[in-house]
Amino acid sequence: MPTKRILLVDDEEDIRQVVKLSLQLVGGWDVVTAGSGSEGVAAALARLPDVILLDVMMPDLDGPATLRRLQSQPATRDIPVILLTAKAQAADRRRFAELGVAGVITKPFDPMELPGQVAETLGWQR
């Protein structure tokens, strides 16, 4: 089975490094990272990942705005998006669900469990 390619969009360097390490070493997947929403859209168009992990709170282009851009592009509109957020209140979750994302993963997360969470959200066999 070909290795999955994951695009992570998060403005925090720490989180990018942890997620990359987790998904590569524990998940065994290829990981591409972007440090902003605009970079993320460009990377999605260039690399066409199997899934995009998208931070919600980012300066300039935040997660929902980035998601709208991805959904407006024919090449990326069908790529599943999982939101990464420290906003875990029920109201936030309802709002995120309405955006048409595949799932929401709450920060903080356990790096050892993150690949399992991603796989479960997308129904991937690991």
Binding site: I15, L25, P108, G116, E120
Partner: protein
């Protein structure tokens, strides 16, 4: 090899049987209420205790305290937090009661199985088609994460310094809007980063600081913030949970935080009391000063 025995307390009736099947070869027994759990703990030995916040008579935190009083920190505990659980309970569970894993309602059964497997040092519980190779990759990943934390530690502590400066200004009544927003943003980032690096208590503290900084602060708010930020620094300057330097996997540096929201030393850090001097180790009664809401939390169980 001795067969692992898991005690569940307060989980839905079918959950214990399901967990036993999922973990394969593990004996999982269910206590229907707090008293059954306390009685069962006396009849051990147990390899793992899984407690749901919905447990009553006695309540879940009291059962955890009873487990710690009876068995010390040898017994791993997974605690399933209700949707209304506050930061004070979370802090108590992580810092004082040494709970290894916190899960949140609505519970995901696969996540519960993975948490249990991790505490029992078993290969990851399969989820659908999940296979074992992921387990083999964990040790290198843990080592890489520890190295990453060493590289990131300074930057993370710089975020705490931003919070400390803002809280100092708050206490002195000179916190302006720019500094408040900057601190709120840093607190938000710490919510995600601290727990991800193995400091769940740090995430809980940062979340409270973020909330406190988000709105008008009055009354004892500044003093509470000072205590929280001092506790946050103490937490992040210790070894992360699950590493060799961690004390039982968790930090006890601010064990008097509960009862002393105000005093902070001139260096901005609450001095760590000698073990037992504050009585923390002597009693694990939840909570030291007041009880959590008596209202039973709503329990939801997702599949």
């Amino acid at each position: 090899m001795t067969r692992a025995c898991v005690l569940t307390a307060g989980l839905p009736p079918d959950a214990a049987a399901w967990l036993g099947r999922r973990l394969g070869g593990v004996d999982v027994r269910a206590a229907r209420n707090g008293q059954e759990a306390v009685d069962a703990l006396a009849g051990g030995p147990w390899s793992l205790l899984i407690v749901d916040d919905a447990l009553r008579e006695p309540a879940a935190p009291e059962v955890v305290g009873a487990a710690r009083d009876r068995l010390g920190n040898r017994l791993p505990v997974v605690y399933c937090l209700g949707p209304t659980a506050g930061g004070d309970l979370t802090r108590w569970l992580v810092r004082r009661a040494g709970v290894q894993r916190l899960l949140f309602h609505p519970l995901d059964r696969d996540e519960l199985a993975r948490a249990a497997a991790s505490c029992l040092d078993l290969p990851p519980a399969p989820s659908g088609g999940e296979e074992a190779p992921a387990a083999a990759r964990r040790e290198p990943a843990r080592a890489a994460l520890a190295a990453l934390w060493e590289r990131s530690r300074e930057a993370v502590l710089e975020r705490v310094a931003v919070l400390e400066a803002a809280v100092d200004a708050l206490v002195d009544g000179r916190l302006d809007e720019r500094q408040r927003r900057e601190a709120e943003c840093e607190a938000h980032k710490l919510v995600g980063a601290a727990g991800t690096f193995g400091f769940p208590g740090g995430s809980a503290l940062a979340a409270e600081l973020e909330q406190l900084l988000a709105g008008p602060t009055a009354g004892d708010g500044p003093a509470r913030a000072a205590g929280q930020v001092a506790a946050l620094r103490c937490e992040l300057e210790a070894a992360p949970a699950g590493t060799a330097g961690a004390e039982g996997g968790h930090v006890d540096a601010s064990c008097c935080w509960w009862s002393t929201p105000t005093p902070v030393s001139s260096c901005g850090c609450r001095p760590k009391p000698p073990q037992g001097a504050c009585g923390c180790r002597a009693s694990l009664t939840w909570p030291p000063r007041e009880r959590p809401s008596a209202a039973a939390p709503t329990r939801r169980w997702s599949t």
